[in-house]
Symmetry: C2
Subunit: 165 residues, 2 copies
């Protein structure tokens, strides 16, 4: 199974593409779409949309994974983030890529075993797990972690179902 | 000047297309994109995106107008709304259509003279002003009102500049 993880933002949108199974995911790509703050929001979201479209067309993921929206920090920034998510969701919807959302703590637990891990710990863990030559950018690491979380969740579900059968 | 007003939502997205000048706008089109709640959010936003794309390609508006996001009611629904806005903004950005945002009270004042007008009053006023054969749907009326507000704002700015010259 091929999964694209994203960490959407109106300034930087991280992405990471992995291929399962969940135990030993294979790293295919990661990076950050940079959306210049000098541009109007609509143009930034158009670039986000175009960038994700190109990635989906190239890699043909079977699922997308991202964090659920969180509102406990700052409502205004959560709204800007939700706009970026909306632009991204529309791309996945257009290509029929099902989207799976995970709570931030669930993603952190899946990849580090600790629900309150720091961003740097996520970066290090992704580098080790995926045998990357160097740390991926912070937003790209978060996106890889979301993809990783999804692959592990799918694998656990499959194991559970097999166990029950 | 041709303007598309939208009232984005994850269930219904109203649109209205007007041609200026602001004093006597000409009505070109209005309607509602219906996004079935039975579909996953990503597919609904993809339909919103496709619907707006078709409208922009058909009418080639020179500006888009919509309400600013409001957060004072319910944060959760504001986030869902922001996602719909993001999908819409990405379409306008892709076609280089500049987006203008107005506070809900500014739109109401522009079209009814009263900042706390009810939805029904907006509908009636749009019907009279634009000489519609019947009331437009509520979401479409709100979209027409946003377009109308933009045309009037542009006209006032032009008058002011002329006055100063």
């Amino acid at each position: 199974m091929r999964v694209i993880g994203i960490d959407p933002g109106s300034r930087f949108t991280g992405y990471g593409i992995l291929e399962g199974p969940g135990g030993t995911p294979r790293h295919l790509d990661n990076g950050v779409l940079v959306l210049p703050p000098s541009l109007p929001m609509a143009e930034r979201l158009a670039r986000l949309s175009a960038g994700l479209t190109a990635l989906v067309e190239e890699h043909r993921p079977e699922a997308a994974a991202m964090e659920t929206v969180f509102t406990h920090r700052n409502v205004k920034s959560a709204l800007v983030l939700a706009q970026a998510r909306g632009a991204a969701l529309a791309v996945f919807g257009r290509f029929g890529v099902p989207v799976f959302e995970y709570a931030p703590a669930a993603i952190k637990t899946a990849v580090t075993g600790y629900g309150r891990a720091e961003k740097e710990q996520i970066q290090k863990m992704m580098r080790i797990l995926l045998k990357l030559p160097e740390d991926a950018a912070s937003d790209a690491s978060d996106a890889l972690a979301a993809a990783c979380c999804h692959l592990r969740t799918v694998r656990l579900s499959a194991l559970t179902v097999t166990g029950r059968a």
